[in-house]
Assembly symmetry: C2
DNA sequence: ACCTGAACACCGTTCAAGT
DNA sequence: ACCTGAACACCGTTCAAGT
C-alpha cells in the first residue's frame, strides 16, 4: 500500500520558474486580476507560503513577468531589424511585430506598461525600453543620412513614429479597433506616418 | 448627555454619489489597486455592505467611474473644437486637451481603457468613445473639403492622427516620456504628423 | 427604500518549525 | 536551502434582520 512514493517531493526543483510559467498562463487565460499567489501555489502543488521564498511579494513576481516580456519583445524587434530593406517596409515590419506581440500578449503588455513597479526594478525596466528604442533610432538616423527622412533630432522623429505605432496597438488593446483591421491597414498607416496627412 | 443627535443618520442621503467621489479620490491619490469597497464604506461612515445597494459589485463601481471619465473628457474635447481655427493649431489644441486630461487623471484613464467592463456596460462605453471621435472625423472631413488634408477615407486619416496623439499620451502615462517634454514638443509633433517624416 | 451585522470564502504576508 | 502550517489582517459578496 505504500509502494508509491510521494508524487510530490518536499523540494519542488525549480519553483521560481514554475511560478513564472504558471503565472503567465493564468495571465493569458484569465487576466491579471485573476492572478493569485495562493492559487498558483495550489496549481503547482506547494504550500501557499512557498512562493514567498522566491518573490518577496506579489509585485516582485509581476515585475519578473514584465521583465521577461520586455526581453521577448526586444528579441523579436531585433530580428525584424535587418540591413538593406527599404525604409517603409522596414518600419512596417517592425510595427507588425509590435502589433502582433501586443495582440498575442495583451495582459502581459498591460503589466509591462503598468506604472507601479518597485523603484528598485524601475531602472532595469527603463533600460529594457531604452534598448528596444535604440535600434529604431539608428534606423531613422541611417535614413536621414540617405536623405529619406527629414533633418532634425532623430530621437524626436523616432518618437513620432513610435507613438503612432504604440497608439495603434493601444487602440487595438482597448477594443476601439480590431487586430485584423489594424494589421490590414498597416501599410497604409505607416505610409501616412511617413508622408503626412497634408497633400504634397 | 444625549443632546447631540447621532452625527451619522441611518440613511446617508446620496451614498451612490459619495462612493463615486470618494472612489475617484482614492484612485487619484493611491491608484486603482488600493481601491477597496470596504475602505470606501469606512471613510464615508456606512457599513461595508452598504455599497452593495448601489453597485452590484466592485466592477460596477469601476464602470460608473469610467463612464464619468468619458463624459468629462468628451466635454473638454468638445470645448476645444471651435470654428475658424487653422487645422494645425486646431489639432494641437485637441491633443493638448487629451494629453493634459491623461496626465491629470492617469489612474482614471487606465480604468477607462481597461478591457474588463461588463458586456452590458461595454456598448455605452463604446458609444462614448465613438461620440468623442465623431467631431475629430468631422474636423478632418472639413479640412479635406478645403484641400488641406489628402483625399481618402476620413476615418482612416483620423485614426492615424488619433493613434499618434493617443500613443504620445500612452508614453507619458508609462513614464517613457515626461509630461513636460510631451507638451513642449507638441506643436512639432503635430507638425510631423501632418507633414510626414519624409522630406518634401 | 435603504442600511446593518454576521457569515462565508477567499486574499497576501509573516514566521516559527520542520526536512 | 527550501518548504510547511498556523496565524493575522485584510478583501468582496450575500442575506436575514433591522429602521
Amino acid at each position: 500500500m505504500t509502494l508509491m512514493p510521494h508524487s510530490r517531493p518536499y523540494h519542488h526543483g525549480d519553483l521560481r520558474a514554475a511560478l513564472l510559467i504558471s503565472a503567465e498562463r493564468t495571465l493569458r487565460e484569465k487576466g491579471a486580476a485573476a492572478l493569485s499567489l495562493r492559487e498558483l501555489a495550489r496549481d503547482i502543488g506547494v504550500s501557499h507560503a512557498a512562493p514567498g521564498r522566491h518573490f518577496k511579494d506579489k509585485q516582485a513576481l509581476l515585475d519578473a513577468l514584465a521583465m521577461t516580456g520586455y526581453s521577448r519583445l526586444h528579441q523579436l524587434l531585433e530580428e525584424a531589424v535587418v540591413p538593406d530593406i527599404p525604409l517603409g517596409p522596414h518600419i512596417t515590419a517592425l510595427a507588425r511585430v509590435y502589433l502582433t506581440f501586443t495582440v498575442e500578449n495583451a495582459a502581459l503588455v498591460e503589466l509591462m506598461y503598468a506604472r507601479k513597479h518597485d523603484p528598485d526594478i524601475d531602472a532595469p525596466l527603463a533600460d529594457a525600453v531604452e534598448r528596444s528604442m535604440r535600434s529604431f533610432v539608428r534606423l531613422i538616423e541611417d535614413a536621414q543620412r540617405r536623405g529619406e527622412i527629414v533633418a532634425g533630432d532623430p530621437e524626436r522623429l523616432t518618437l513620432v513614429a513610435a507613438a503612432g505605432i504604440h497608439g495603434l496597438a493601444g487602440l487595438v488593446t482597448t477594443g476601439a479597433l480590431t487586430a485584423d483591421a489594424a494589421l490590414a491597414g498597416l501599410d497604409e498607416h505607416i505610409h501616412l506616418i511617413l508622408h503626412g496627412l497634408k497633400p504634397r
